[in-house]
């Protein structure tokens, strides 16, 4: 009888220990402490194939580099970190299924967001349902990101539809001859249309702000994201002959527009591209010189010097990895910096809360914020949907490279 009792007791102890090991959403990892313990598993999807794959690959490389560096420095809370990344094929329906699987079947300890706003919105719904913290790389559509425990890694503040046009017009007002006539060319996709036309009842955007500033909108063209023939748009812009073209588009939209205008022998006086793929614009050569865009980080020497040796190491290593992965554009810039921020936020949540308890992590990030390598210390206010005061700058193509030009205190070269 005594043997049976001891056996039962031993079995209970074994089961309890095993259960503690499996209970990844608890504080138990702090108990395993620096002596090691099972790895902390971070789950996410990325668009490794499909329409968003070009940028998805950048986030994958940045994430892998981050995890390698983290583990080389001892991991989180003394435990190694494993990153389980699944391919969502750029399909937001798959994103939801895969995040559900990561949480309920794979029982990952932590989540990190996918790439691209529609996918992030899908993942956010699942994370919210299960109460998981979700640092996310690039969704800036602040009004739609209402979950208290989503933490943006790229912020254009709570009102990007106001901030972006204001920042652009402020910058251009500093030139000897600011633009008076503008043409606005807008992709009918979420974030691009948001910056031109606002969202819901809030109609604030490029068009209203231009009007308030007394600018004359001489062309206002909206196009579907699947547009392949750019000649009609270029023709309208050419005939309107604006002082400034605002291309609120994504990917290679700006490249196609510049090329179509060049074919019509038209060179814009000034041009701004909202979220372009950085490499193809540079590949255009002279016709793209002077184009402005938004940026969170460019590895210009004065900026790297300010950030210190660690930032230089990270950007250099990323370029090496990107070359090995045969990415056509290998520079560590805004997208990679946003990815790095997301991982910094996740790591801060774990270390500051002392575990992987999601509620404690969320509370800790709200209370203490997060230190990041490329954007400094971030504070998250749920009233602003955690969108921190932006560090966004404007960059410009100068002599074949992207250079930060605005605001003046962060500029690596003057705006031209």
């Amino acid at each position: 009888m005594r043997i049976r009792t001891l056996t039962a007791l031993a079995a209970a102890v074994v089961l309890t220990v095993a259960a503690a090991g499996c209970n990844r959403g608890s504080d138990s990892d702090s108990a395993s402490g620096k002596g090691g313990g099972p790895p902390i598993v971070v789950g996410s999807t990325l668009s490794l194939t499909g329409a968003f794959a070009a940028t998805g690959q950048i986030h994958k490389l940045a994430g892998e580099e981050y995890v390698d560096r983290l583990n080389a420095a001892g991991g989180l809370l003394g435990r190694k970190v494993e990153w389980k990344v699944l391919d969502d094929q750029s399909d937001q329906a798959k994103v939801a299924q895969l995040y559900e699987r990561l949480i309920t079947q794979d029982k990952v300890d932590l989540l990190i967001g996918p790439y691209a706003t529609p996918n992030i919105l899908s993942a956010m719904a699942v994370a919210q349902r299960h109460g998981y913290v979700l640092p996310q790389h690039t969704a800036v559509l602040a009004p739609q990101l209402t979950y208290d425990c989503q933490f943006p890694a790229w912020s254009i503040g709570p009102t990007p539809n106001k901030f972006i046009p204001d920042q652009l017009f402020d910058a251009l007002d500093s030139l000897p001859t600011p633009p008076k006539k503008i043409a606005v060319v807008t992709s009918q996709s979420g974030s691009a249309a948001f910056v031109t036309d606002g969202f819901g009842d809030d109609k604030t955007g490029v068009l209203t702000i231009a009007k308030d500033r007394g600018l004359d909108v001489v062309a206002n063209v909206h196009y579907p994201p699947t547009t392949t023939d750019w000649a009609p748009i270029a023709t309208q812009v050419r005939d309107a002959d604006p002082d400034l073209i605002i291309s609120n588009g994504l990917g290679v939209d700006a490249v196609n527009l510049v090329q179509a205008m060049k074919q019509l022998n038209y060179t814009p006086k000034k041009m701004f591209a909202l979220f372009p793929a950085p490499g193809p614009l540079l590949a255009l050569g002279a016709p793209a010189d002077g184009i402005l865009s938004v940026s969170m980080f460019e590895p210009n020497k004065p900026i790297l010097d300010k950030l210190g040796a660690k930032a230089t190491e990270i950007t250099t290593d990323f370029t090496k990895r990107a070359k090995e992965a045969k990415l056509p554009y290998t520079t560590f810039e805004t997208q990679a910096a946003a990815s790095w921020n997301a991982w910094d936020i996740l790591a801060a949540g774990v270390t500051e809360s002392g575990g992987t308890d999601q509620r404690k992590m969320c509370a800790s990030l709200h209370d203490k914020g997060a230190d990041t390598t490329f954007s400094g210390h971030l504070k998250f206010d749920p009233k602003d949907h955690n969108f921190w005061p932006t560090t966004q700058t404007l960059k410009q193509i100068q002599d074949g490279d992207w250079v930060t030009v605005w605001p003046k205190n962060k500029a690596a070269a003057p705006l031209k």
Partner: protein
């Protein structure tokens, strides 16, 4: 001036649509194969042009010396596969869609999913144009238009004036009877498949001159190219060219007069209306069948 330039630009880009559509139309009309893998051939043709031009620094148009024969072989092999599988028209749609997906995945693995574009040093054509007053003819679409015209003329003459062409038309009408008269269906199918592959190389090369490439690009061609094939009349090469130009012009003019966002709505509404009036295609005159 807006509308005149848009009409002109639309007509020229219509040449590219026609160049992409001719192969699909002929294969469908003559061999009864709805070959979605044709989009994969165009994609590979475009990537080969990109690769050869950027790796060796040669003029992208000179790459046709390599890509046209290569894609001829690829097209013939593809047709051989279709023949061996003895597919029905509908099954060819499914099988070729599968092949297209495989092609896109292979392109992703080889060239990555990122945007690939020939830079200005190897591709001067991207921004060149010919001007007459305020009217501008972009070189890339002008080239597409001329190539499409030459291909259409060539295919039309071959189909109407040569024994092989008459044999192909006989196959389109009744394969069994054509066989009874000594027409070698398999050999002619391979030849036609190869020729279609060669047109894919031309279309891919012209596309890569003025566009960034991603593997997913192939899906973007579906709507407009199918519209051109159906509107032109299946297997009707001259009709395909005319339909390409019409679609290009309509799309361009609507984009300028109303908005690019309205263009797909107006374009496809017009196509539906046209097909209600002429179900075999607006330009169908009996085709090659």
């Amino acid at each position: 001036m807006n509308v005149v330039q848009a009409t002109l630009s639309g007509a020229l880009i219509g040449g590219l649509y026609a160049l992409m559509a001719i192969g699909l139309s002929v294969t469908w009309g003559v061999l009864r194969v709805i070959n979605l893998a044709h989009f994969g051939l165009i994609l590979i043709g475009a990537y080969l042009t990109f690769q050869l031009a950027t790796s060796w620094g040669i003029d992208p148009l000179l790459t046709l010396v390599v890509t046209v024969p290569a894609m001829f072989v690829a097209g013939a092999v593809l047709q051989w596969i279709f023949d061996r599988l003895a597919l029905t028209e509908f099954n060819s749609l499914l099988v070729s869609f599968g092949l297209l997906i495989i092609t896109i995945q292979v392109a992703s693995n080889v060239w990555s999913a990122d945007f690939q574009r020939m830079d200005a040093t190897v591709n001067p054509y991207a921004t060149e144009s010919v001007s007459i007053g305020r009217l501008v003819f972009p070189v890339t679409t002008l080239l597409a238009f001329v190539l499409a015209g030459l291909v259409v003329l060539g295919v039309h003459l071959v189909l109407r004036r040569t024994f092989a062409g008459r044999a192909l038309r006989a196959i389109a009408q009744d394969r069994a009877v054509a066989g009874a008269f000594g027409v070698d269906h398999r050999r002619l199918s391979l030849l036609l498949g190869g020729a279609v592959g060669a047109t894919a190389a031309l279309a891919g090369a012209v596309f890569s001159l003025s566009n960034a490439l991603t593997p997913e690009t192939a899906y973007e061609w579906f709507g407009i190219v199918f519209a051109v094939v159906i509107l032109g009349g299946i297997g009707e090469v001259v009709g395909t060219f005319a339909a390409g130009v019409l679609v290009g012009v309509l799309s361009g003019v609507v984009s300028v007069v109303w908005s690019p966002a309205t263009a797909p709505f107006v374009l496809f509404s017009a196509i539906i209306l046209a097909l209600l009036l002429r179900p075999r295609g607006l330009f169908a005159m009996g085709a090659v069948r």
